[in-house]
């Protein structure tokens, strides 16, 4: 390699090295910083420790966890909070960079604004209404709390609860929740909440069939179809039997 070529190469590489120190944001920064951190654009080590990356300790030196979502770093109230309820105070760990990235180039690899309930402290995790408002539709108006009966914490919709799996709400059973589930307890039900079924007529019908254990109605009856009777211990066992057994007889109606 000729001496001139070596010199030109060295001069160019030195120039690039100098530019990297003078304009680190342009030379090595992975994209623009978020508008709130614009003044830090040329001061990489304000957030980054050499060879250790950006630690949460540096974030919380300006962003006090107790104030996040409530007050700005200058102590002013947050006028347009991103979430209706501040939740950073209730996180299990203060690992800021696990969710936040300030450079446009890094954001591309992360789903911004994706909240994971697993980050919340256990005591907060079960108190859905401390962050979420209960929906105001006719169904949810009847329910207070215990959201996890029907919804999981990954997605609100679709609800994980499939009522048809336990009892099909068709025909005459298109009733309000409280008809069968009393006191907002959806882990229990009663079939005597409507005028159609009474303890007396149910008892009489089952005794006639020689059935004495009939407390758990949905164990055999999963829909309004009077012929769809599933016997204990097996799906659909009594469908035909039910048809035969009840043929020509009046029901309780």
């Amino acid at each position: 390699m000729s001496r001139i070529l070596k010199f030109v190469l060295a001069a160019n590489l030195i120039a690039i090295a100098v530019l990297a120190f003078v304009y680190p944001n342009l030379m090595v920064g992975p994209g623009k910083l978020i508008p709130g951190h614009k003044q830090l654009e040329t001061d990489c080590f304000a957030c980054h420790a050499p060879f250790l990356g950006s630690a949460s300790e540096r974030c919380v030196s300006c962003h006090k966890p107790a104030d996040v979502g409530r007050l700005t770093t200058t102590g002013q109230p947050v006028l347009k909070p991103l979430t209706s309820t501040p939740f950073h105070q209730k996180l299990t760990t203060q690992d800021c960079v696990a969710c936040h990235s300030d450079h446009a180039g890094v954001k591309r690899y992360r789903q911004q604004g994706r909240f994971n309930h697993a980050l919340l402290q256990k005591a907060t995790l079960d108190q859905c209404l401390s962050c979420h408002k209960s929906p105001t539709d006719s169904l949810h108006k009847q329910i207070t709390g215990n959201c996890s009966q029907c919804h999981n914490q990954n997605k609100w919709t679709p609800a994980t609860f499939d009522h048809n799996k336990y009892f099909v709400l068709d025909r005459d059973h298109s009733a309000s929740c409280v008809t069968c589930h009393e006191g907002n307890n959806y882990s229990r039900y009663t079939c005597y909440g409507c005028h159609e079924h009474t303890a007396e007529n149910i008892r009489r019908e089952h005794i006639e069939e020689g059935i004495r254990d009939y407390d758990n109605c949905v164990e055999c009856h999963r829909s309004a179809d009077e012929h769809d009777i599933r016997g204990r211990g097996g799906e659909g066992r009594g469908k035909d039997e039910g048809k035969q057994g009840r043929k020509g007889r009046d029901d309780d109606d």
Binding site: L13, I16, M27, V28, L52, A104
Partner: protein, 192 residues
């Protein structure tokens, strides 16, 4: 003469460069389609390791390493740098964030093209020394010795020497820029 130039130089060169571009675009498309964009972020590591591993040939050629079949090492050099370059290109994607990594990417691209030119020049040199095969065999050398002598003759032909004068500075620029990029990543990224 013209058809020979097409068959032996222009077409193979266009094919190699075109294939590199096609593999890069296909890799980038697949990562986006499969929602695995984050994988591309780390493909620079195996790409760089492949390029570094392929430098064994350069060390062997300059006798820093005494063992290893130079012909096989050259094949490793050609494949390693080509695959390594394609991984680094997928890693770069089409995201323009900082100037230094892009300078390194451009230098790598020039380096890869230069390498492909070198490969074609070497093929031409091989054909040239093919004519000397009979001469060596007439001297009573064994077949492996003839192969070895022809290989070294091919890589030390004048055209190859002149090409190397361009290829080595391009490689040095690429190496310095790539190492600067890698250093900046180590400096600012939290690996633990």
């Amino acid at each position: 003469m013209t058809s020979s130039l097409w068959r032996h130089h222009i077409l193979p060169f266009t094919f190699l460069v075109g294939l590199l571009a096609a593999v890069t675009l296909a890799g980038d498309y697949l990562l986006h389609r499969l929602n695995l964009v984050w994988v591309g972020r780390y493909l620079g590591i195996p790409g760089t390791l492949l390029i570094i591993a392929s430098l064994v040939y350069s060390l062997r050629k300059r006798k820093y390493i005494k063992t290893g079949n130079p012909k096989k090492l050259l094949t490793l050099h050609e494949f390693g740098t080509w695959i390594g370059a394609s991984l680094v290109l997928i890693h770069a994607g089409i995201h323009f964030n900082a100037i230094l990594p892009w300078l390194a990417t451009v230098a790598m691209g020039v380096n890869a093209v230069s390498g492909m030119v070198g490969k074609l020049l070497l093929d031409r040199s091989r054909r040239h020394v093919q004519e000397q095969r009979e001469h060596f065999q007439l001297r009573g050398l064994s077949r492996p010795d003839v192969e070895q002598a022809m290989f070294w003759d091919a890589v030390t032909l004048d055209a190859m020497n002149r090409w190397r004068k361009v290829h080595i500075p391009i490689f040095i620029v690429f190496a310095v820029l790539a190492l600067s990029h890698i250093f900046s990543i180590f400096l600012f990224w939290g690996w633990v």
